[in-house]
């Protein structure tokens, strides 16, 4: 995850192209095997992408149970649609697109959010207190991200938390690189404003 502007830019400029190309090649082989009826090949794709898909879902719903349900749904949809995957984009881009759409549909149909369980039991030691404060800040930011406008939220999640290039994000969202950059810039500014307002700054 890029934590500084330089790292944010670096994720676009110095991606290890060879590793990426090999990864895409492995995916293509696995997809071809699945399309040929080899179910175990899809298990390998699930194993490879389940963390990314789960975390993406979590960013949208902010709780484990829903993220788990949605992650399963994403893979089921992908499997059902695999015969229609022609490799115009990479498998990961295609899968992210399914995941984002699943998240948006889920949010549109979901009931009011239940309160999230605390991530840790209270502990009075100094380190634990700092950890609790950090967790609480994280929770506030995650919660603020879920309140961003749809396009801004998707852009920020894919770019900041999944380390994708602007081009990849544009491919997933069916947008242009210029729009992705503008949405990301707005998202970052809005996030800061929301959190400052909550903190009474």
């Amino acid at each position: 995850m890029p934590s500084t502007p330089a790292a944010l830019a670096a994720s676009d400029e110095s991606a290890p192209e060879l590793a990426s190309s090999r990864r895409h090649e492995d995916d293509r082989d696995a997809v071809a095997a699945c399309q040929g009826g080899e179910r175990q090949a899809f298990d390998r794709l699930v194993e490879k992408y389940q963390r990314d898909v789960y975390r993406l879902c979590y960013r949208y719903v902010n709780n484990h149970q829903d993220a788990n349900d949605m992650a399963q749904e994403v893979f089921l949809k992908a499997y059902r649609a695999l015969d229609r995957f022609r490799g115009d984009s990479s498998f990961s881009t295609w899968l992210y697109r399914i995941a984002v759409n699943t998240c948006l549909n889920f949010r549109a149909s979901r009931k009011p959010e239940a309160a999230e369980l605390p991530e840790a039991l209270p502990d009075k030691s100094q380190g634990a207190l700092e950890r609790l404060e950090r967790d609480e800040r994280s929770r506030q930011v995650r919660e603020a991200v879920t309140r961003l406008p749809e396009k801004q939220r998707a852009t920020l999640i894919l770019k900041i938390y999944h380390d994708l290039t602007h081009e990849e994000v544009a491919g997933i969202l069916g947008s242009t690189v210029g729009t992705v950059k503008a949405n990301l810039f707005h998202a970052l500014g809005n996030l800061r404003k929301m959190l400052a307002a909550e903190a009474g700054e």
């Binding site: 995850m1 975390r55 992650a71 991530e119 929770r139 920020l156 900041i160 707005h186 970052l188 404003k193």
Partner: protein, 183 residues
């Protein structure tokens, strides 16, 4: 926003590119403020991690997906995915047993069918009966047991004995063959 740097180019500046816009940003308080806000937003966003689930969760997620795909395609799940069904199947078998046999528990026992006698005898002919040798060996001891002389074989002769005769013969055999031990 005429006169100011548009957002997509400000993002380039934020990412360390956009050299052509840098001079404007440095000179323009409004663009500088927008850039600073986005930088602060990036710092906040980058620190907000998703809580990491248990390491065991990933295996569980993979299995759940795999099981649901099996169910959809009507395939029987692989053995390792069915293992957890063991206790359920055992409970179902016990329940089926209870349902089947419980109504029978209160009923009187059904009468036994009449014994089916074979049309042929499983007994060997008298001359091949191994028991005959034993009986001959103890003949002196059982001389008064009045074994019928014309019986077809030892076993048949024994069958023909009365209860009292059987008891006498058994006592003699115990003493003579078992040397006082319980046979």
């Amino acid at each position: 926003m005429a006169g100011h740097v548009p957002e997509h180019r400000l993002l380039d500046v934020l990412e360390g590119r956009g050299a052509s816009d840098r001079a404007h940003v440095e000179a323009c308080a409004q663009c500088r403020a927008r850039l600073a806000e986005a930088q602060a937003g990036l710092a906040l966003a980058a620190g907000a991690e998703v809580p990491e689930p248990s390491p065991l969760y990933w295996e569980s997620l993979r299995r759940q997906v795999s099981r649901r795909l099996d169910e959809e395609s009507g395939r029987r799940p692989a053995f390792w995915r069915r293992i957890s069904l063991g206790p359920v199947l055992a409970a179902a078998a016990v329940l089926a047993g209870i349902v089947t046999f419980l109504p029978l528990a209160g009923r009187p026992p059904a009468p036994l069918p009449p014994p089916q006698l074979p049309a042929w005898s499983a007994l060997p002919p008298a001359e091949e009966d191994e028991g005959l040798e034993v009986l001959r060996a103890v003949a002196p001891a059982v001389a008064d047991a009045s074994v019928p002389a014309a019986c077809a074989g030892v076993a048949e002769c024994l069958v023909d004995l009365s209860d009292e005769e059987s008891q006498v013969l058994a006592d003699r055999l115990r003493r003579e063959i078992g040397h006082g031990k319980d046979l």
